[in-house]
């Protein structure tokens, strides 16, 4: 099966009630309050997004904070429900959104390979099967048998990236985190992503780091206030992003 992502006219609203009226007290208070409170409207996080991403594509996602990068990735992963429009994803989705997640700080790196593997839906046998590969790729030396609390951010990235890319799956979504890796790691990550793409899979990477975007991606998408404002080659996408934000 070849991987693909189709988004057509996708809109996504964050329910504003989630940020106010958290408690019954607030709910009751609003019933008796005479002066209306400043209305909090639903956050319109994605506006009419239409995208086609086909097998073997590697896409870089750019935009300022709050432009909708993370929301778009999480919507593709099926975590956030769309308020309108359609989303079809073929292929198993693997997301790398937040680093410390699914990790247990008191367990060793090796144990955490098992835990995160289980989180991603592997059986214990499968998780043990990917272990040598992950250990080799993460290249943490003796630290692999140390508790995770002793790891630096860069080491966490290496471990998390190694696990997520070893698990397999056709659509790889990576949010920001990759920037914490050092240069040697970036070179390895690039090779790894080449392998992933060679299997006709998809990479969508969101980042503020133009250098890693240029190294890893071919196509670039610029988001601005929840809209896709540019979609094309990565270099021109970076130029467009710079122009849009007055960085030139």
């Amino acid at each position: 099966m070849s991987a693909a992502i189709h988004l057509a006219g996708a809109n996504l609203h964050y329910a504003a009630v989630a940020y106010v009226e958290r408690s019954l007290k607030a709910l009751l208070a609003s019933a008796v309050r005479r002066a209306p409170r400043p209305a909090v409207r639903d956050v319109h996080a994605l506006r009419d997004v239409t995208l086609e991403i086909g097998p073997g594509e590697r896409v870089g996602l750019m935009g300022r904070n709050g432009a909708g990068k993370t929301t778009l990735l999480r919507a593709i992963a099926g975590l956030y429900p769309l308020s309108s429009g359609s989303l079809e994803v073929s292929g198993a989705v693997r997301g790398l959104f937040e680093l410390a997640l699914g990790f247990e700080p008191d367990a060793t790196g090796r144990e955490n390979i098992l835990y995160r593997g289980l989180l991603l839906g592997l059986t214990p046998a499968q998780a043990r099967a990917i272990e040598p590969d992950v250990v080799a790729f993460a290249d943490l030396g003796e630290f692999i048998d140390y508790p995770l609390r002793t790891y630096s951010a860069g080491m966490l990235v290496r471990l998390a990236f190694a696990i997520t890319t070893s698990v397999g799956g056709e659509v790889l979504l990576i949010d920001e985190v990759i920037g914490a890796g050092d240069a040697a790691f970036m070179a390895k990550a690039r090779k790894r992503i080449d392998d992933v793409i060679a299997r006709a899979e998809i990479l969508v990477l969101s980042s503020h780091d133009f250098a890693s975007l240029q190294r890893l991606c071919i196509r670039g998408i610029v988001l601005h206030h929840g809209r896709v404002v540019y979609d094309g080659a990565i270099d021109s996408a970076i130029d467009e992003y710079r122009r849009l934000n007055g960085l030139v």
Binding site: R22, S23, Y80, P81, L118
Partner: protein, 259 residues
């Protein structure tokens, strides 16, 4: 059905979560798992001393009654109150992968069931040595308590978790409600006390009483639980299971906005 299948597919993940909860609970304490036994035992000793005097009953017979009530009630209270926050607690996982939400309440129920199972072994040993005459085939029926407790705790916790994620007052209100429920149920007080006081309805129509009878009838009197006991004990998970299913259909996808 598809939902249940997905829960089954994620089984390695939630069993791992439950086990790691148990490890955290017992880590770095010298007696470790034994605390799950010592705590209710000590409490039972205390309550027996007082209640046996007040109600003028035989201490040796009354103590296992209190103990059986205590460990079962502890399971229900712990599962319901911490289960209501299961989604909030698992927000990191929910924001990262798409597993059925019910696995997070299942994790809470499973963790507490292990604690209960451990304490229940203590109960069995106690009853075997104190009242060996009760031993018989009827004891097989007591095994039903494990699946019954698991499904009861799981379904109630799932229903509550949907609300508690939005209204963070629920856990506080729940403490009050649980105390009230405990007070009107024959958890520590004997059913006869309620009957004599003309409060028979609090026993006869109380699912908590019937659930407790699944353990108490065989272990403490050597009898089979009645069909009524079983039907009441099954009705609770059935009702809450349906409710949880309905709530899940309406709210499951939106929970992530409230985390």
């Amino acid at each position: 059905m598809d939902y249940l299948r997905k829960i089954w597919q994620a089984r390695y993940f939630w069993t791992h979560l439950a086990l790691s909860d148990l490890r955290t609970r017992w880590r770095r304490s010298f007696l470790g798992a034994l605390w799950s036994l010592i705590q209710p035992l000590a409490m039972t000793a205390l309550l027996t001393l007082v209640f046996a005097r007040i109600f003028k009953t035989d201490m040796l017979r009354y103590a296992p009654y209190i103990f059986s009530g205590m460990i079962t009630w502890d399971f229900v209270a712990a599962t319901v109150s911490s289960g209501s926050l299961a989604f909030v607690q698992a927000d990191a996982y929910i924001k990262q992968t798409r597993h059925p939400l019910a696995i997070y309440t299942l994790r809470t129920a499973l963790t507490n069931l292990c604690v209960f199972a451990f304490a229940s072994v203590g109960l069995v040993i106690w009853v075997l040595s104190a009242m060996p005459g009760n031993f018989g085939w009827s004891w097989l029926s007591a095994l039903l308590i494990y699946p019954l407790l698991l499904t009861t705790g799981w379904t109630i916790a799932t229903c509550l978790a949907f609300f508690a994620t939005r209204f963070r007052d629920i856990p506080h209100a729940l403490g009050l409600l649980l105390q009230a429920l405990w007070f009107v149920s024959p958890v520590y007080f004997e059913a006869d006390v309620f009957h004599k006081a003309g409060l028979a309805a609090l026993v006869d129509y109380n699912p908590i009483y019937h659930l407790l009878q699944i353990v108490r009838a065989p272990l403490l009197s050597g009898q089979w639980p009645t069909l009524t006991n079983l039907l009441f004990a099954l009705a609770v998970p059935a009702v809450f299971g349906l409710l949880a299913w309905g709530l899940g259909r309406a709210l499951e996808r939106r929970v992530i906005f409230y985390l």
